[in-house]
Each structure stands twice: as C-alpha cells, then as structure tokens.
Symmetry: C2
Subunit: 350 residues, 2 copies
DNA sequence: TGGCAGCTCTGCAACGATGCAGACATCGTG
DNA sequence: CACGATGTCTGCATCGTTGCAGAGCTGCCA
C-alpha cells in the first residue's frame, strides 16, 4: 500500500492540498470545522509527511555529516558525541560515518553522486585527502576539516596546536628527570602530517632541554592502535639501552604500550613513564591511569559546527578560517606514580 | 551564486534537459558531438546533481540510520563499524546517531517531522522506547530493533541470548571454584530489560551449581559505565565477607571494577576473578586483560541490515522476525591469571 | 522511391511538498 | 449601502530530477 500524500488526504477531506498542508504545519488560520475534518482524514490515512519532498522545496535537510576514519577509535567516538551535541544546539542533526581510513572511501565521499550530498554540510576528519581531491568534489555542501591536513588555506579548519601539544607532553617527561625519552607513532610519509607535527614538538622539547635526539628511540607505527603501541614498546625495551620514558602520539598507542610494559614486569612510572595524547576516558581507568594531553573536544566540536553553520547560512564571509582549539596536560599515574598507597609504581607481584 | 541545475546546463549547451541528464547518468546513447558539448557546459557551470531531487523522484535515499544510546560506549562504536560495513555490502550508506540515552530524544526520533524520515530504514538500539511509542511513529521507514526490548512481536529484532550469555559467564567463574560471586549492573526497573535478563542468567547459573543467591552481592548501577563499576567493586570489597569473583553486566563496568580492585591491592584473579560481557577491544589491553562473553557483532550487524533491507525492498514477508545472534566466552587473564610469567596474579608492588 | 528499423534526441508529466497571489465570504465602519 | 479590512481557503507555479512516449533523422533494403 502506497504511503498517503497530502493529495490523498485532501481528496478524502474534501479540501485543497494547500489546506491540508496548512493544518499539518499549523501555518495559516484554519477554521475549527475544517481542521477537524482534515485531522480525521489525516488519522484515517495515517499520513506522514515526505521529508525528502519537503527538503527539496526548502533546499535544505537540516542534516550535518561528520566523517571520521574510525568510529571505534575512542577519540573519534568522543568527538562524535560532542559534535552531535553542538549540532543540536544550532538546530542541526549530525549523523556520523566512517571511512575505515580507506583513501578510496574518503575520495568516494566527495563524488558527484555521493549520498552525503543530502547533507547541508560536512565535517571531515581526513587522513589521505589532498587539496586536489577537495577541489574537484562533486559535493555542493560546505566542508569544514578537522586536523592539520591540507593547510593551504582553501578550507576551514579546526585543530589543536599539535606541535605544542607534543612538546608539552615531552616536557612533562623531561620535568620528571627523564632523559632517554622514546616516541611511538611517527609517520614519516606523505599522509602522516599530524604525526609529523607531533614529532616536531617532541624534538623541540628535547632540543630545548639539551637532550640529544636519538633516532633509535623513535618508532614509527602505521596506525594509532593499541596493538601497535604494545609491539613498539616491547621493541624499545629490548634495546641495549632502553628508554626511561615513552611519549606516544595518541592514547591508544600509550595504552598498548602500558600493557606490554606492565606485563613484562617493567614498573610504570618508576622504570618507564608513559604519556599519550587524546584525553580519552579509557585512560582514566587503565592501571596505572594514563597521563595525556587532552584536546578540548567540546571546543573542537563547537568551533567546527559554528564554522560550518556560518558557511551554510551565509552569515560569515566565505573566507576559510583556520581555528585553533585548546589542549590541556593531564598528568596521571603513568607519569606521576600511584599516590596514597605508599608505593611508587606498579609491577608484577608474585 | 545559485547552484547550476540541469536546466542551466541544457540552456548553455543548447540541448534538452533530458539529454544532459542522460549524459550525467550515462543512460541513453548520446552522440559524441553532443556529449562533448554537454560535458563542456557541465564543467563550465561546475554542475553537481541535486541529490534531494533525485531521491524524491526515485522514492529512496539509499541511506540507513543506526541509532544507539551512546556512541562513545565502545560496544556501540564497534557495532557501528560492523553495521556500516554490512550496509555497504547491501548498497546502503549507514549513518549513525546517538540519543545520549535520553528518553525524550528517543521518542523524538519517531516524530512526524523527524529528519530521520529521510532514511530508507532505521536500526534502533532503544533504551526506553515502548511498543506504544513505536506504533504511533510518524516515520514511514521500516525499523529493526537491537536488544531485547519490546518483545511483543510487532517489530523485527536482533539480539543475543542474554540469559545464556550471563549464565555462561557466571558458570565460568563457578568452574574456577569461586563460590561468592558478585554481580554488578542489575537494573530492577522498567527500562532495564537487558540487565534483568542477565540477572536471570546469573541466578540460573548459581542455582544449577547449588550456590545460594545472596542479594548483598548484587549491585545495581543506573548505567553501564566504568566509573559506576569501579564504585560498585569498592563497595563489594568493603562487605564483611567480600566476593571471590565478580560478574559484570558489561565490559565497561568490569574495567572500572578491575581498576578499583587492582588499585586497592586486590589480586586479580587470585583474590577476585572478574568477567564482563561485550567483547570490546579495550578488554584485550587492560592489565590484567578482561575475560568476557562476546556477542558476535558482525553477525548482529549483518542480520540487522539484512532484515531491514528485506523490509525496505519488500523481498521478505513483513512479518517481524526475532533473530538470535551468537555469543562466545573469551576467558582471559582476569579469570585465568597471567600465564607465562611464573606469577599468578597482578597487584601492587613496592 | 517507399517503407521500415534503429538511433538520437526532446518535451511533458510526475515525485510530494510549499510559496504566492488572489478568490470569496464575512464583518465593521462611515 | 458602499467600502475596505480581515479571515479562510484555493489553485497554480515551483523545487530539480527522472520516466515515458514519441518526434525526427539516417540508412538500408526491396
């Protein structure tokens, strides 16, 4: 059975389509008698408006899309929550998609026939997209980017200062007196821009402290996952002179490293201090809890949505903005130690 | 500047709208000469199809919606990933929304004017919705439900056997010789159906093993979050006779409990064994790693998408199906102990 | 040369809703 | 009583696209 349309309802109620529309939307004044008749017909036919038709007429859908590489990476999940909330505050519904960090999927998004063209605007957290890709997009909706990519100024951006964040994390380790500070997560190839900025921050901190840079202590990882962090930490501890601290480029790497260290009987932080970046909730509950530099996800989400809405509604100059969000160092047990227990580290007992 | 339409392109190229459409979609045979002219015009005007108009004409959007209570709960994030993949296999794009576990937001989804009406179908993981709510929905798209709610048979469902899952988790603890087995996560009120099923499974296992049910060992928690698990575990250990094992209704509760136990110097699993439900990746990397009963998320996602697509495309009888997905017990260190180290538990050293 | 098939291409209608201008009835006022 | 103001209600055009039926042309064969 076909869905009832305004026309069906109008026929049944013996009024014009327009009047039915008015009743449905509560627009123009409608007499009680007619209103009652229309409402009866609406009920009898179980009328439900066709949102697509309405959107076509109004030229907007009220939907924003957030596209992240991996939804099950906690940082993105937490960011998604914040973005959905920010969207609501501006009257938009945000829906989330992921690309599995697949370059082809990322490019597919921008395709002429992408279904995302239904959305009034897009917030992208790209991994591999180039400015070129974005230029030729078949997508009519405005775009705001998250992260450091594509800083050629043609698109609005929201990101933390990754160099500073990495520097502060490293400086925190230095302040604890550590000198052999390893780094896990470098990505010295084209699409690893965020990682490269963090490497820069790491090296800045070392340099300022007069600590020599030791390339053997820097482990690249293709992605920022727990398993890779664990493997890299194991390798680091097998070095002739292992590190006394590890700066991980994100919290998942750090949590993987943490487990492999503790599992191997290394005391954290006494033997090796560990810090990450992301400020995910999981890090508050690891044992020991994870020190981290937390980007202000609320702020990132709010700024991204605000920029996007301004583009959509034309309330701002279309000049692309580069927006910086805040970040905060959150020292926890993995660098400060476990307080209140009369012990100074966590290891294997038995 | 307005977006170019087919009409604009047609005017510029001196051909009919229909021909432009044909070129864009590669439909009918078009002579090379015309095709070239049209393509030039397309390029000059930077034409991008209006997906909304296309959808209106075709009566579908190719979009499925997945709505979960909280995206930053890892179980849901992992399920979302699986669902997005399953949707792609069927030619649909899945986009994810969350309700913040807010009853009003859940109901809002089904409203006449909900933007989700743009979607061809919806997969809902409801917390508080009643059958009543679903009946009066102003939403035309078919719906498939995740979880045990609303088992009155009017809607298609996909869920694991929660009673069995909880029973198997508890039996695993019993098989280890534990007798004072606590439970964290009961929700003995209307909207806590999943929790109640898990309580039933827990009690079944106790009963079968001839262990008396001790209500003091069952801690309710309003939600399934790490912090509440930690608090509940602390309370349990403060009992005159504390438990020697804890069954948590999900992995987040268990991870919270794990931390508070280890933090307090309790040896896991020697003193207290811990198990959860969900099989989230985080549990593989906690210290000790978390034993769990893992629902087959792939299967859940696949079954949900298949049911939904069948409803949308009318290839299946509209009779609502109740589908069971598989689950697997995954014993890890939090019950089996840490092997290969010559130690039998993890605690505080120093 | 007539007729037909096959290839291109076009115009119109339609998807289901809303904006707009105006028709019609009613009412109050001068 | 005439008039305009007000309050209801309607029809038409429109959003941008695609389905459908058919027009016009070409070329081939009898």
């Amino acid at each position: 059975m076909r869905e009832a349309t305004l026309k069906d309802v109008a026929t049944r109620a013996g009024v014009s389509i327009r009047t039915v529309s008015n009743v449905v939307n509560g627009y123009a004044p409608v007499s009680d008698a007619l209103r009652a008749k229309v409402e009866t017909a609406l009920g009898e036919l179980d009328y439900r408006p066709n949102v697509i038709a309405r959107n076509l007429k109004q030229g907007r859908s009220g939907l924003l899309g957030l596209v992240v590489p991996e939804l099950d990476v906690p940082y993105f999940a937490e960011l998604a929550r914040a973005t959905i909330a920010a969207g609501r505050r501006h009257g938009y519904t945000v829906m989330v998609d992921q690309t599995d960090a697949d370059p082809e999927r990322e490019r597919e998004l921008l395709t002429r026939n992408s279904r995302l063209a239904l959305f009034d605007g897009l917030i992208l957290s790209p991994l591999t997209l180039t400015v070129q890709d974005l230029r030729v997009r078949g997508n009519r909706a405005p775009i705001v980017l998250l992260g450091e990519h594509l800083f050629d100024g043609s698109f609005s951006h929201v990101a933390i200062d990754n160099v500073a964040a990495a520097r502060e994390a490293t400086e925190h380790l230095i302040a604890l007196g550590r000198t052999r500070i390893a780094a896990i997560g470098d990505q010295p190839y084209q699409t690893g821009e965020t990682a490269q900025l963090r490497t820069a921050g790491y090296r800045q901190a070392l340099e300022r402290a007069g600590i020599a840079y030791d390339p053997r202590l820097v482990r690249p990882t293709e992605r920022f996952h727990r398993r890779l962090g664990a493997a890299a930490a194991t390798e680091l501890m097998a070095l002739p002179s292992p590190p006394d601290a590890i700066f991980c480029y994100n919290d998942l790497l750090a949590l993987g490293a943490l487990r492999s260290l503790v599992r191997a009987g290394v005391r954290v932080p006494d033997d090796v201090a560990v810090i990450g970046i992301d400020g995910i909730e999981e890090g508050e509950f690891s044992m020991p809890s994870l020190s981290t530099v937390a980007p202000d996800k609320q702020q990132i989400a709010t700024l991204a949505v605000e920029s996007l809405v301004a583009l959509i509604e034309g309330t701002a100059a279309p000049a692309p903005a580069e927006v910086r969000a805040a970040h905060t160092l959150l020292p926890r047990e993995s660098t400060l130690g476990i307080s209140g227990l009369g012990v100074s580290g966590l290891g294997i007992s038995g």
